[in-house]
Symmetry: C2
Subunit: 337 residues, 2 copies
């Protein structure tokens, strides 16, 4: 059997399409027995109202758009789990878009979602994103936006993050306390808010402890290049004895570089990073991490967005900043040996 | 500025909405200079046609629905990356739904997507799914479906999988060749196609080598329970000296159980599993895996579905089975020591 629509129901019942539509809409001007007949057949044939037509009527897609740089990553996949949990409980579906760190893709997505596909947007911006005009357009089209994790200060809108700066200070102190004299910060793109805050935490912590000069190693999106950068740094004179990696990808690159050079973690080099990797305790050696509240960030961001959509306020919500704390979990990679 | 619609353009240009609509649709009955004026303003104001209205006209949402049990898992997140790659290249958006292994959620999703939100469905079924009437309904509503990884033999439709049976035979031979005398198969739900094929491969390999009796340990969706099951088994008499885990979650549980009991991998117990875990080489000890072609499975499944959607065939595509091979990657967890 093909698609069951109003026309099918009307033909089977020998009623007009308008009568069927009004019966399904529970309108007052249709007799009880007619309503009953229509609803019975609709159930039997598994009639589903057309989403496009319903969308036109209610001007709501009941769908949230989520834009992330990647999902093959424990942090973002946990955030998305959290978003799903709250969205489904509120009757919303979730449309996930990946930018793969490309501003070009992010702009295309922003253009695409303005035409009624979603009721609002949750976004963690790409590492290429500095100008956010494409997101201003989304807002101007009447769609609320909530930033999470990687935010832009160019727009005063709600954002949900962790305490990146304070956690980075704590991570750096942890390496200093473990005896490191020459700590390198393995950096993501300088455009990114999270990188800026974590790097500032690292620099301030070194300055506060009157530690020796700082070193920033720039990482990128290509794993092999990250490994090679770290191999070069660890092969040079004044080899670092501590690595603070901004994200888990860079800690994995550091582990691989040490394996390549025969350096032992934590004896020769101590490593810490921001990560939600589930197997961090099972790595060789187990990895000391700053564990972000990924699931909670997702839930909070989704709840904030649903609130904005349903309040239907035209007024500006302003830059409400919600910060959920991370934990430092000490493991073998920063042990004193 | 609020939403720019046909009405806005018509008012600004002092034209009727019908003229504007026909100009945007490049109809023949509109003068060239009028068309030019309309298109110029539409560009300037970033006019976006309404998706719901466009959907009604073309009866296409240009969206693919993807249903997976979870995404905080390297296999599914890589599959979704592959799906995105092909979908975006073909002009489709991707709507990701999570079942969290619940048949109830899967049924709700299947009902929900029948009303025009998606043009077709890619699904890896939940571990609770035996009856697939909800998917038959989706097909009866005219939406093509392609199974990937976890398939149902109840429906004769295209499916994309890896060579689960042959890879499981190879994995079991690998443990036998490493000297294991008492291998346990750590099992997922018996409902799942992948589990059935992998378990059969294990049993056939043991039988072929005239090995001692087989042992099946039933795992589930709760990590702590999986760890406890394995601890009990490894604490008993006739302790297994080899574990073949159906999925990486169960291998992680095995590593944790061994750590809890002070058993050394690979000396006391050897471990192998199906996994796309990126950090498998960095685990303590590095984990021998059957690596599935996750990205390729995603690409192939998406390409098959887009083909079905665009061919617009009413005829049954039948049960085309595409099988992409896995590789066994030998590491320390199965070494002879």
């Amino acid at each position: 059997m093909g698609k069951v629509d109003l026309r099918t129901l009307a033909a089977r019942l020998n009623l007009s399409m308008s009568t069927v539509s009004r019966a399904l809409g529970d309108k007052q001007d249709i007799g009880a027995s007619t309503k009953k007949r229509v609803l019975k057949l609709a159930r039997e044939l598994n009639y589903q109202p057309n989403a496009h037509a319903a969308g036109l009527r209610h001007r709501k897609s009941k769908t949230i758009g989520v834009v992330v740089p990647e999902i093959a990553n424990n942090f973002f996949s946990l955030v998305i789990d959290g978003i799903h949990e709250v969205a489904h409980a509120s009757g919303y579906h979730v449309l996930v878009y990946l930018t793969h760190e490309s501003l070009h893709k992010e702009i295309n997505i922003a253009r695409h979602i303005q035409n009624g596909r979603v009721d609002g947007l949750l976004i963690s911006i790409s590492s290429e994103t500095v100008n956010v005009d494409h997101l201003r357009e989304v807002r101007n089209a009447g769609l609320p936006i909530v930033f999470f994790d990687r935010v832009s200060n160019e727009m005063k809108i709600p954002c949900v993050t962790t305490n990146d700066y304070e956690s980075a200070v704590e991570a750096t102190h942890h390496l200093l306390d473990a005896g490191c004299k020459n700590i390198v910060y393995f950096s993501l793109s300088h455009n990114l808010s999270i990188n800026g805050k974590r790097m500032k935490g690292y620099l301030d912590a070194l300055r506060r402890r009157k530690s020796s000069a700082s070193t920033i190693l720039q990482g990128g999106n290509v794993h092999e290049e990250n490994v090679n950068h770290m191999i070069r740094l660890l092969s040079g004179k004044e080899r670092p004895d501590g690595v603070f990696a901004c994200v888990e990808e860079l800690a994995i690159a550091t582990y691989e570089a040490c394996a390549h050079l025969g350096l032992q973690i934590p004896r020769d080099v101590k490593v810490i990073c921001f990560s939600n990797m589930r197997v961090a305790p099972l790595l060789n050696p187990s990895l000391t991490t700053v564990r972000q509240p990924a699931l909670e960030i997702g839930k909070e961001a989704a709840a904030t967005l649903v609130g904005l959509i349903e309040s239907n306020k035209k007024s500006d919500p302003g830059q409400v900043k919600k910060v959920i704390k991370s934990d430092l979990i000490e493991r073998r990679s920063t042990a004193i040996v």
